[in-house]
Amino acid sequence: MSAVPNTPRRANAQESFTPAATPQTSRVASSHIVQSSPHYQTTRRHSLYGTEDRIILDPGSCIWKVGFSGEGKPRDVFYAGGDSGESLWTLNRASKPAEREEEDRILEAKLQACLRSVFHNSLLTDPKSRKVILVEHPLLPLHIKEIMARILFNNLQVPSISFASSHLLALLAAGRVTGLVLDCGHLESTVLPIFSFRPLYPHLRTTPLAGARLSNHIKALLLMFGTYIPPATSLSATMNIPAASRSIRVPQDVLTEKVIDEIKTRICFVGDPIDTDGSGAAQHAMSPGPSEADLPPSDPALSESEFSRVSADVSIDSSNFAPSSGYSVVSHSQLPGMDHAPGESRVQALATMYGRHSTATDIHLRVDPPPAQQTGTGRGTLIVPGWIRERAAEVLFEGGDVDESSVAEVILDTLLKVPVDLRKTLASTILVVGGTPMLPGFIPRLQAELTRAVSRTSNSSSSSAAPSRAGRPRPRPAAYDKYAALRPLLPYFAILNNPAPPPPGNATAAANAGKAPAFTPSMMAWVGGSLAGALKTGGVEVQREKWDEAEAQPDSDDDVPMAHDSSPARSARSSPAKSILPDWTRTPLPTGAPPAPRPPAAAAYIPSAQEQMVMG
């Protein structure tokens, strides 16, 4: 069947250039089904999974995607942390060993529940006969990787696990083997350059500006600028007070993770760069240094802190997200030489400025009243200002901070690091994946920010992509033009999966921009995994036998805890595991240093340095 793919495929290609129409074309008995029958066959063939078919797991900190190799979409997608939507793990672990141990035990219990339900409820398949491809984020903490492997091997007894780099897989799903992949997930945004199948890990760059931070920011904004109308006080109340008079500031506990998540995924989007007279980047580039003139632009810088100070004041319980993220906005903007005295007014100024640059409508949401005030009279109403819907995501593009660069900056920083000869290629093959880019308008905006950041001239370039940062006093050399080196690349910048690519700067860009297949950013890594599985390949494969052997290895440091109560024993067991799980961070440095010596038994199964460089 697949031998003669093209002719019929063409036939279909035509009509499914408007894919939505395909299923919609009303009556079932319509003509093109006949045409599509070949694919019908092929897809059927591939959905017949023998033990050949692998299971593809894409376990995020928040959302998991699971399914079988050879299929175009996952079988199941779910919140790993339960419907509350909170993430399984955060960026930081408890410092005290005891606490950390307890943390890990709970994490293990949760992961075990998730993994078991993947096989028994989502996929309805027998784990013992299914090889697993684990879509692995390059910065997935090793201890979590170990826990997962331990559960898969010991508890579910899968025959083997292959660890494949999420960035590489995503690239495959785009039909490429070379590119600069930005994965903007829940906890982090990570950029990884890949050259012909080969992830250049040493050049990996990351920033905490990602989904969780966005949620956090939305919450802070709503607490200040949202409105809440509580439900009627009693059902019998014959006369009712006009809503206007009852509307109040948003109570802290109305904004649950779930509500914030709904706002983020359903009504938020990313507007065009704020680029009007007075606050436009161009003008500011000209005007030297800070001055009363550009009050609006100087706002956001501070206001960022204002917002987050607010969020701090009302003490968003930081358990919901990485404590750091709860406050780091503060920390990163509370740089020397900033006084918060005029804060409130500035925040207001920012609000008004954002308001000015947003035409989005306000949205009314029905939300559960805070537990304290549940009168059984239905739900309250939360009013989300349009500008928050459109401008909340600005936080992701507000960079200018050394360790919290914007999503645009993190790409550029990577480009600065990669060998000069690769820059053109990579700059023109940028791929954006992950959940956060699902925000409508995100990718086009990113493209714009890239251009803006690079094209900015000296003094304003010290700050970030965000125009608003322009002219903000900073304790760094004002004249330092960070991205000057990249300016020649300007015409080359192209995002493979940009749904609305700008007029291309040159042929290379034209050949790449928006040329990726129309898979959703959030699903690319999984689809890549499915592809790898269907091609009978995948990452470095660890067989169960090897794992068991490695585990059986009497490890010197094991004897002590073995006798102990189960939990330390369990964690102790992981030590041999460490040595057999692939881990690029333990591979030799670019300088070509030899691999660190390891226990012989384990050593046999350490994929050679270069493999790890490739697939780890």
């Binding site: 009556r27 028994h120 995924t265 040329k515 297949p517």
Partner: protein
């Protein structure tokens, strides 16, 4: 909340000791008795977190049709018949015929028998009133709907694009995997791993400007340059995201900018399983085929013996094999007499029959454990075996070699309250059908119960304090024995009264049920009275949770805690 007791499952952990109950993580290792299994081979308790699960049959939860596994694969674990979920509210959809042409005044003229209803048929949700005609999906006949829609699914853009991607990569991988022979140093996976091989061949190639990563490269440069030449052409997408932009990108931005209500946009759950860019609008959602469910058989993780084997029939609730712990271990019920007494008072005073909700509410307040008091609690043991058993209780010994901090925490926890358990072994009568719900027996039980309650109330009269109660057997009848323990809560105590209890019981080994010799290494050894040779001993850990400590002197006030 009412006091409760749960049983420990070691889940193959090395240590037989349960985790200290004050750790949040401990809750994962304790289970209600009815959720546990018992492996006769290993003579051990098993739980749903450790048993091996196998699919013993698939069925559709809606039409209850038993699906042969072959078609399960083809249908992607979904019902291939007429079962669909509402994309809007996830209710199950029903197939309905279209209305007859509406005559001028339909209200007065009842339809003349809509025999079978007329086509087109469509799917209809009787919860949110969504119907498939809204998305232009209708059917000529009311049967085999899935088959009709399947065609759309197969010609879905993502599957077509996927096939194309495969064809794009296949040749390259084949080529590189064959061409590359990596030094044996780099383990066996390589060969089973075209992509790795391909990659490493790519790797061996000099990356302009990148320092040499490994010695291999030089030797290979020549061939790899070649490889570079014949390198795959850029992939040509079937549908480029640019073209699909009509469905996302700017359009969506505009949609959102002018959004009126949330409802217009599909929720994350409604679209997150799409791998292909799809419209955001809720009005574009398609009906979902109902995912199948499976009947599961369960095996012991260590010896692989079957613990649960369901009957083939999907809806039968009987099992060919069913080794549940409830048939082996005594069931334990824990109660606080003073709470029950209080509850009883309320019941009598208030309307004869108290609504369960209210009861629970009052139990809440009445069951309060007030710091600085001591309370007795009752443990009722019910023997499932056909022979009498001897039970001995002990507080869980905290292993001396517990990790430092855990130990500290343990000490801290124990200091908050003191538990007294009957030290002597006590008997529990054998189980017999005859005893079940035999009337006289019931009455007898009631009387005793009544008495018991009365003196409990008497104590309560003294504000439930002081005067240490006897610790020991309170009541014994049929296959149930009730013993009483005591908890002493110092003034400064805080948190929950929650402790691990070791229960060991001896039974006649020649009785058919659990006739295996005691597992070596089970803690049971030390405890248990192994005087009679044919007596066998089994021990298991439990966690007893009597509820949390309150600080008010007046139980009544605790309501508003």
């Amino acid at each position: 909340m009412a006091p409760k007791i749960e049983y420990y499952c070691p889940c193959l952990a090395e240590s037989p000791y349960p985790p200290p109950p004050h750790l949040a993580s401990s809750s994962y290792s304790f289970h209600a008795l009815h959720n546990l299994f018992f492996c006769e081979e290993c003579d051990a308790v098993r739980c749903n977190r450790c048993v091996l699960v196998e699919v013993s049959g698939y069925y559709c939860p809606n039409c209850l049709f038993e699906v042969p596994s072959a078609s399960v694969r083809a249908e992607k674990n979904r019902c291939a018949r007429n079962c669909f979920l509402c994309p809007n509210c996830r209710n199950t959809l029903t197939v309905v015929p279209s209305d007859p042409p509406e005559d001028v005044d339909s209200r007065m003229s009842p339809i003349v028998s809509t025999t079978l209803g007329e086509p087109p048929f469509f799917l209809y949700c009787n919860h949110c009133r969504w119907d498939s005609a809204e998305v232009d999906i209708t059917f000529e006949k009311p049967t085999g709907l899935a088959a009709q829609l399947q065609k759309f699914e197969d010609s879905a853009p993502e599957s077509l694009e996927f096939e194309r991607l495969k064809e794009h990569f296949e040749p390259f991988l084949r080529a590189s995997s064959s061409s590359t022979a990596l030094p044996s140093a780099s383990s066996h996976h390589v060969h089973t791993n075209p992509i790795t091989a391909a990659a490493s061949s790519a790797l061996a190639r000099d990356i302009p400007g990148v320092g040499k990563y490994n010695p291999l490269s030089r030797s290979r440069i020549g061939r790899d340059k070649a490889a570079h030449r014949q390198e795959y052409p850029d992939y040509k997408s079937r549908v480029e995201v640019g073209h699909a932009a009509a469905l996302s990108g700017e359009v969506d931005v505009e949609l959102l900018r002018h959004l009126e209500t949330v409802g217009e946009v599909a929720s994350l759950e409604q679209r997150w399983s799409n791998s292909w860019v799809t419209p955001l609008r809720a009005s574009d959602l398609k009906p979902l085929r109902i995912p199948l469910q499976s009947k599961k058989s369960k095996r012991c993780p260590s010896c692989r013996h079957i613990l649960i084997k369901p009957e083939q029939k999907a809806q039968s609730t009987r099992f060919k094999i069913k080794l549940v712990a409830a048939n082996y271990l005594p069931a334990i019920a824990v109660t606080l007499p003073h709470a029950q007494a209080a509850l009883e008072m309320m019941k009598r005073s208030s309307a004869k029959s108290v609504s369960a909700a209210a009861a629970a509410e009052e139990q809440q307040t009445a069951g309060a454990l007030i710091a600085g008091h001591s309370y007795s609690f009752h443990l009722a043991f019910t023997n499932p075996l056909y022979d009498p058993i001897q039970i001995r209780l002990a507080k869980a010994v905290v292993p001396a070699h517990m990790t430092e901090d855990a130990e500290a925490a343990e000490r801290a926890r124990r200091s908050t309250f003191q538990i007294q358990l009957p030290s002597a072994a006590f008997p529990v009568g054998a189980f017999a059908e005859a005893w079940e719900y035999d009337d006289e027996d019931e009455d007898m039980f009631l009387d005793e119960d009544g008495v018991e309650l009365l003196d409990a109330r008497g104590k309560k009269g003294k504000d439930g304090r002081g005067k240490s109660r006897s610790v020991g057997i309170v009541d014994k009848r049929a296959n149930v024995t009730i013993v009483s323990g005591e908890v002493l809560i110092p003034k400064e105590a805080r948190g929950d009264v929650k402790f691990n209890m070791l229960v060991s019981y001896t039974y006649r080994s020649d009785d058919p049920e659990p006739s295996e010799e005691v597992e070596v290494g089970t803690p049971s050894r030390s405890h248990g009275t192994n005087k009679a040779p044919e007596m066998k001993n089994f021990s298991f850990y439990t966690v007893v949770d009597l509820g949390s400590i309150m600080y008010r002197e007046e139980p009544k006030l605790t309501a508003d805690l």
